[in-house]
């Protein structure tokens, strides 16, 4: 679905050296989602996911592998992770081994789910983080991007989670320049404060030219360009993603054949990462990381 753009020059792409496995990303529901956002990095949606969900057994096996390698954090993403029937037991399994984060659109976080997550977090040895996606503090603008009703449902989820002491992180994509002089960050922070959230947490991610945004920008990171930054700031130097079909370089490119690591185990997948996809240029330019902090 996402052919890499041709390189601007004949220079071969750079490869980011691998340092150590800090973040394991688990694309638990593949590209199966109840929303269909215009900027989705893997073109997730409610019908015919091109990337299948993962079986619970494989998820547990990969988390165990990562824990044995000394992983620092586990992230559950998709698609929408709360569509997975075994999400709660899998979260519990992960939390026994490492701090764990779920990236959700919040629409399925009802009172019962929020209650279960609160109980899980309270009993867990390590921190449970919930990232709830909401792109624009204006309801109409947000829903034009994420779908009708998504704004109210995400904000309701944030309130439900905060009521259980979970301190969700509102996560937004920088879809377009914010109107007026105020930054998206400031506007989203104010939205949370106005909604009664006492400890607002906001994370902003850039747009990536992949998935539904494929073809919108990009280029190749050359070895010369890599020399101008600390390669350790590229998340592929310390992350790997597990999705249907194998192990991938990073969560942005999970599922794409060109990002698949030639490895059958995580230990074998900790090798230099070719920065050949147009999305790699965004990481190089912005220093963005999909991790919480």
């Amino acid at each position: 679905m996402d052919a890499p753009a041709p390189a601007a020059t004949l220079t071969p792409p750079a490869a980011a050296p691998f340092r150590h496995l800090d973040a394991l990303w688990v694309q638990i529901t593949g590209t199966w989602c109840n929303l269909q956002c215009v900027h989705c990095i893997n073109a997730s949606g409610p019908t015919e996911p091109w990337l299948a969900p993962l079986e619970a057994g494989e998820v547990c096996q990969r988390i165990d592998e990562a824990a044995a390698l000394g992983v620092k954090e586990v992230y559950f993403t998709g698609g929408e992770p709360f569509l997975h029937r075994q999400i709660l037991p899998l979260l519990q399994f992960a939390l026994e081994r490492a701090p764990t984060t779920v990236l959700t659109n919040g629409t399925l976080v009802d009172e019962a789910t929020a209650e279960a997550l609160g109980a899980l977090a309270g009993a867990a040895r390590y921190s449970l983080e919930l990232r709830v996606s909401l792109d624009d503090p204006d309801r109409a603008r947000n829903d034009a991007i994420r779908g009708r009703g998504s704004f109210d449902r995400a904000l309701r989820a944030i309130r439900r989670l905060e009521a259980r002491g979970l301190l969700p992180i509102l996560t937004a994509t920088e879809v377009d320049p914010a109107p007026g002089g105020e930054t998206r960050y400031d506007r989203l922070r104010r939205l949370l404060l106005d909604a009664g959230v006492r400890k607002p947490r906001v994370k902003i991610l850039p747009l990536f030219p992949v998935g539904r945004m494929a073809g919108h920008g990009g280029g190749t990171v050359t070895p010369e360009m890599l020399q101008s930054i600390d390669p350790a700031r590229l998340q592929c130097s310390s992350s790997r993603a597990v999705a249907a079909g194998g192990i991938y370089a990073c969560p942005i490119l999970a599922g794409l054949p060109e990002a698949r690591m030639p490895a059958s185990s995580l230990a074998e997948a900790l090798t230099p990462t070719p920065l050949s996809h147009p999305a790699c240029l965004v990481c190089w330019q912005t220093g963005a990381s999909c991790r919480n902090a």
Partner: protein, 270 residues
């Protein structure tokens, strides 16, 4: 990165991090540690930060014979970097980080900056019969935060293994904690003496570590109360942000909250 190995072994050491230009807390900590019979005093870095008059802490450290290592702040101020290297991405956190960094950089003497630039990144010593490594953030990264709720046992084991240590001592995050692995190895975040640890009291913490040969390591976190009101007034007189002063008086963090994991953040007021 430069590493110094201490030629002798120790029975009891006092270790503190994050002075953040808080000379009042430093004086109180040094006196307390001497009174508890520490063989040696170690500082894990970040001498400057949110406090006033950054040059005041250096003579205190020198006179007390404190053996320091380099924090990210010391490296940045020493070399005149454009920012503190704290790695914040939150714009509000970066706003406040820039204020304290610009203030500290402009008021730290060339002599002290040169001294910080020459500090080692690690120190290695024997405590009882434990091979011990002292670092700032983590053994592998000066700016890596090691929080209790987001540092799994598997990572602790890996960090210890990579530097061939039985004990790793670190700071940087600002909140103390101790993990003893099932195999008897330890990781201790010794906390900071420059600002309270987001617990609603103005006290700060350092760590006393004692190891008799053949016995397990004893880790004692020691609270320090000091004249925080004088510090707060000095900060106000220097025009430092009221948000920093509020933390000194109340013990609650008001800035740089982004880096806190959910569990540690939930314990604070903001």
């Amino acid at each position: 990165m430069r590493e110094i190995t201490e030629p002798r072994s120790f029975r009891r050491i006092a270790v503190f991090g994050g002075v953040y230009s808080n000379a009042h807390a430093l004086v109180a900590t040094l006196a307390d540690a001497r009174g508890r019979g520490a063989d040696a005093l170690f500082c894990l870095g970040d001498l400057g930060g949110v406090g006033p008059h950054p040059d005041r802490v250096f003579p205190l450290l020198h006179d007390a014979g404190v053996r320091a290592i380099q924090g990210n702040y010391d490296l940045a101020v020493g070399q005149g970097h454009p920012d503190c290297g704290c790695g914040y991405t939150d714009p509000r956190d970066n706003h406040f980080a820039r204020i304290s960094y610009a203030y500290t950089l402009a008021r730290t003497s060339t002599e002290h900056r040169r001294w910080m630039t020459a500090l080692p990144g690690h120190r290695r010593l024997t405590l009882g019969d434990h091979a011990t490594v002292l670092c700032h953030g983590s053994p592998r990264g000066v700016s890596e935060f090691l929080w209790e709720s987001t540092t799994p046992d598997g990572l602790v084991a890996r960090l210890l293994g990579e530097v061939r240590a039985d004990v790793v001592l670190c700071t940087h995050s600002g909140i103390k904690w101790h993990r003893r692995l099932a195999d008897g190895r330890h990781l201790v975040n010794v906390g900071v003496i420059g600002r309270p640890e987001n617990d609603g009291t103005p006290r700060v913490w350092y760590t006393l570590l004692t190891a008799e040969p053949g016995r397990d390591l004893e880790v004692e976190f020691v609270p320090i109360t000091y004249d925080h009101e004088t510090l707060a007034r000095e900060m106000e007189a220097e025009g430092l942000p009221p948000e920093f002063v509020e933390t000194v008086r109340t013990g609650w963090w008001t800035t740089c909250l982004e880096v806190l994991p959910a569990r540690e953040r939930a314990r604070g007021r903001f």
